[in-house]
């Protein structure tokens, strides 16, 4: 009777608080007891890696997003692959290859004794089955959002739908089975860049049995024009030859792989269970790593580098595989005059910009492709920072200083090669105006306005950049300069002829020399000012070893050991 309600309540709340604290504390002990296997003996380790999003679907032919590709990389392999950490093309499911003289017929000898995860034998028939599958895509599979990389590398299809947006012509002609372990790929025109492109995750070989049984190509297009696979190949039965096998995918929660016990190749690591968990927020990924809830994550933000290194975690850097540049549109005066382009480049202190805004993870670019790639030239004209020289160049060309130019930057965007475009821009404008230019500034939101304006030649000078897809110079300077583009506003036959010749050259040494020459030509002509290559960061807990960051993010976890 005696106790008032408020007293009782106070007691009850105190009791609840104590109970809650006890529960949490006990829970903590539990967690340590069964926590993740991070401290387990090296054999049979489990590793949780945080991704930035869930994959779209686990079928390499139908995706272009990085998180789908990362997952597919663990389970599937292509005819060729890239040396760990580099862009050198090395044998994958093919042991070696030869091309005919004009580079239109490529013969691959295949690895013996390889089986898919479902027990299907890997052989020449399986290779042709996959290539023919891609080439014969119809309907919404021809949508560039689905088969982007096929269209980039091979162009069109057996029967290209004119409304699909896909190119009409195809580089791919046919696939021939010579014998069980020899396959010939015939191309319609000579190409050498296609070999490096074959290392793309998109061209990895899937089990023909599984593709058929789980109806990889069955689906329907809904009223919104979006394709839905009705089969389960890409969601429940992605079957390749790779070091890991699919175990389970709970959408938006986790994707689990287990070690392939019958893997034909090397598996130096000790990860038996690999779990990808999507954590879209950057700060949340960092905290999960600090808490030990995950053992690694990608896309570390530059501002977190210091925290990671100071809290006993590891920071790894991918070799640079991108370029940020200022594009000059030569149709937009005065950029048609090479003196202006040269003076602009000499007036900007690129080293200062890189030091100020790239947290020590950038290097000054001297040309439009990163030094990791073959064909990079150490003999290009470099246009070092020299404001006095810039003035001289302009005056010699008959200009009265300052020379008026238009210069634009994008807003609402952060790119690996350009985390803070406005900072870069403002620093450059200050330097240009200090020297010898009067800059009319302009800006627009990255998409769609800015890209649209830049691509359609509506800007004079503009900030832009590019991240490579595959380890071939064609993917950088070929993309930029092989064909006339409104963004650059010039047609230079000397450069495009050089790039044409380099693209089809099949001899590696000759090809390297040709691309070096093209880079020299390009930088003499100076269509833009490349200014930085950056090295994106990955973070891991201290007990993870063996992860080799790749410039193109081709990173198998079979190399990883959790100690």
């Amino acid at each position: 009777m005696g106790l008032s309600t408020s007293r009782r309540l106070l007691r009850l709340m105190a009791l609840l608080t104590v109970l809650a604290l006890m529960a949490v504390a006990c829970g903590g002990d539990d967690d340590d007891a069964d926590g993740g296997g991070g401290d387990e003996a090296p054999a049979g380790a489990s590793l949780i890696f945080a991704t930035s999003a869930d994959p779209v679907v686990l079928d390499g032919a139908l995706v272009s997003d990085g998180e789908s590709l990362r997952a597919i990389d663990q389970m599937f392999e292509g005819l060729v692959t890239l040396a760990p950490g580099g862009t050198e093309v090395v044998p994958g499911l093919a042991t070696d290859w030869t091309a005919n003289e004009d580079g239109t017929q490529w013969t691959f000898n295949l690895q013996e004794g390889v089986t898919f995860h479902d027990g299907t034998e890997f052989n020449a028939d399986a290779v042709c089955y996959n290539f023919d599958r891609w080439y014969n895509f119809t309907g919404s599979f021809q949508n560039p959002a689905a088969s982007y990389y096929w269209q980039t590398v091979f162009g069109g299809f057996a029967e290209t739908d004119p409304d699909s947006g896909a190119p009409e012509d195809s580089l791919y002609d046919s696939c021939e089975v010579t014998d069980d372990l020899t396959v010939v790929l015939n191309l319609t025109t000579p190409s050498s860049s296609f070999l490096a492109a074959l290392a793309l995750t998109n061209f990895t070989i899937a089990s023909p049995t599984a593709l058929e049984e789980y109806q990889a190509d069955e689906g329907e297009v809904d009223a919104d024009g979006i394709f839905h696979a009705t089969g389960t190949f890409g969601t429940e039965h992605p079957i390749g030859t790779g070091p890991f096998m699919f175990e389970e995918w709970v959408r938006n929660d986790h994707l689990t792989f287990v070690r392939n016990p019958d893997y034909w190749g090397d598996f130096p690591g000790n990860v038996d269970e690999l779990i990808f968990r999507p954590i879209p927020d950057n700060a949340a990924r960092l905290q999960a790593l600090q808490a030990g809830d995950i053992q690694g994550y990608d896309l570390v933000e530059p501002q977190d580098y210091e925290t990671i290194e100071s809290s006993g975690l590891q920071l790894l850097n991918r070799p640079a595989f991108n370029v940020a540049y200022v594009g000059f549109n030569q149709k937009h005066e005065p950029f048609g005059d090479i003196a202006v382009r040269q003076a602009f480049t000499m007036a900007v202190n690129r080293q200062e910009v890189v030091d100020a805004f790239y947290a020590g993870q950038g290097e000054v670019a001297t040309q439009f492709m990163p030094p990791e790639l073959f064909g990079w030239s150490d003999a290009v004209t470099t246009y070092d920072f020299d404001p006095e020289g810039a003035k001289q160049v302009l005056e010699d060309a008959g200009y009265t200083l300052p020379v008026e130019i238009d210069f634009a930057f994008p807003t609402d965007v952060s790119r690996p090669y350009m985390p803070t475009p406005q900072d870069n821009f403002e620093a450059m404008v200050a330097q240009l105006e200090d020297c010898c230019f009067k800059v009319n500034t302009d800006s627009a939101t990255w998409s769609p306005n800015y890209l649209d304006n830049a691509d359609n030649g509506r800007y004079g000078a503009y900030l832009l950049g590019w991240t490579g897809d595959f380890g071939d110079p064609d993917n950088f300077i070929g993309t930029f300069f092989q064909n006339e583009q409104k963004a650059w506003g010039f047609d230079n036959p000397e450069i495009s002829d050089c790039l044409d010749a380099a693209e089809i050259e099949t001899d590696e040494a000759a090809r390297t020399a040709l691309y070096e020459e093209c880079n020299n030509l390009i930088m003499d002509f100076i269509p833009g000012m490349p200014y930085v290559h950056t090295k994106p960061g990955l973070a891991f807990t201290a007990n993870v070893t063996g992860y080799v960051p790749s410039p193109v993010s081709l990173e198998p976890f079979s190399l990883v050991t959790v100690e």
Partner: protein, 334 residues
């Protein structure tokens, strides 16, 4: 009463119609488009065109809206352009996650907020009153995401007591017939999973509960103070009733009316709060889903999600109105 409910439900039709138009126009006014999200900086004019055509975005807006309404009428919310999943499927999977989190947060807010407000009123101008007022002021003004980061830093990073993200440990095997993980664990009689899910719930639910908790505590305090001074309470005390009975029957029941209103209004707050909380805790619910959809100009998801949010808010306010009648028999709906 039934007539009232039916009338409210009928009113829903024009409200939803207007809302669908607003949402439709709004998502299309966002910068960028799905083709940019899909192809990024590699988009050529030709491929962007093809995608816009495929998605029907090359049609005039009224035609697109008409098609959207037609689909809605047949219960088809469209598909996400990014995940290629039907919006309804994703909603079915993500909604339980948000509800589980939201209900836990509301429970925390009620279990702590009402007693706190009551105690503060009882000790009017005392230490507890000042303390709870101060704490609730902090609760209301503290940004959720910041609180969430601090909670995680203390309890996950420093102490290691609680997990920092997600709904369940990925190594725990639990079937998900309902997608309410607590319920799934009970159905599966998997107590290890139940405890793990509970542990995953604690930090995000506390972060999400702070603002509603603070508001509920303050409203309860004010309501109790007001009711305590009513004549009937004085009479009850004067006739010698046990103080706890007076508090329960006369004070609390009458003070609950404004509190219930506020609880109803909190539903909207919980949903908007979930956008931030879910993002910080990588909680795969509706909130983080919407945020991603905004980033990717995922029209169908945004349209479906916002309509759904609106429906929930409307229904919860309807529930509040109905519950009035039970709490206060004098209120009857004509």
């Amino acid at each position: 009463m039934i007539k009232y409910i039916v009338r409210r439900l009928v009113l829903l039709v024009p409200i939803l119609f207007g809302l669908s138009l607003l949402v439709f126009v709004y998502v299309r006014s966002l910068p960028g488009g799905p083709e940019i999200a899909l192809l990024g900086e590699r988009a050529t004019e030709q491929s962007s065109e093809a995608i816009r055509k495929d998605l029907g975005l090359d049609q005039p807006l009224p035609v697109q809206y008409g098609r959207y309404l037609k689909n809605l009428a047949s219960g088809n919310f469209g598909s996400s352009i990014i995940t290629r999943q039907p919006v309804m499927d994703e909603l079915k999977q993500r909604f339980p996650a948000t509800v589980e989190l939201g209900i836990t947060a509301i429970l925390i807010a009620l279990i702590l907020g009402i007693p706190l407000g009551f105690l503060a009123a009882k000790r009017y101008q005392g230490f507890l009153d000042h303390a709870s007022l101060g704490a609730s002021l902090i609760g209301i003004s503290f940004p959720i995401f910041f609180l969430a980061l601090i909670l995680k830093w203390i309890f996950a990073v420093k102490l290691g007591w609680l997990p920092s993200f997600g709904r369940i440990d990925a190594t725990i095997d639990l079937p998900h017939p309902t997608n309410f993980y607590l319920l799934d664990a009970i159905i599966d009689t998997n107590w290890k999973a139940f405890v793990d899910v509970l542990k995953h719930l604690i930090l995000p639910a506390i972060a999400l509960a702070t603002i509603p908790l603070a508001i509920i505590a303050r409203i309860t305090r004010a309501a109790v103070l007001e009711v305590t001074n009513e004549d009937y309470v004085r009479t009850a005390r004067a006739k010698g009733l046990d103080p706890s009975v007076v508090d329960r029957r006369h004070v609390m029941k009458n003070a609950m009316l404004p509190v219930v209103t506020v609880i109803g209004l909190q539903t909207g707050l919980i949903l908007t709060g979930a956008v931030l909380t879910e993002t910080v805790f990588a909680w795969p619910g509706v909130g983080s889903w919407m945020l991603n959809a905004i980033r990717n100009a995922d029209y169908a998801v945004l349209q479906g999600g916002i309509l759904f949010f609106a429906l929930i808010t409307i229904f919860s306010s309807l529930l509040v109105d109905i519950s009035y009648a039970f709490l206060n028999p004098r209120i009857r709906y004509q």
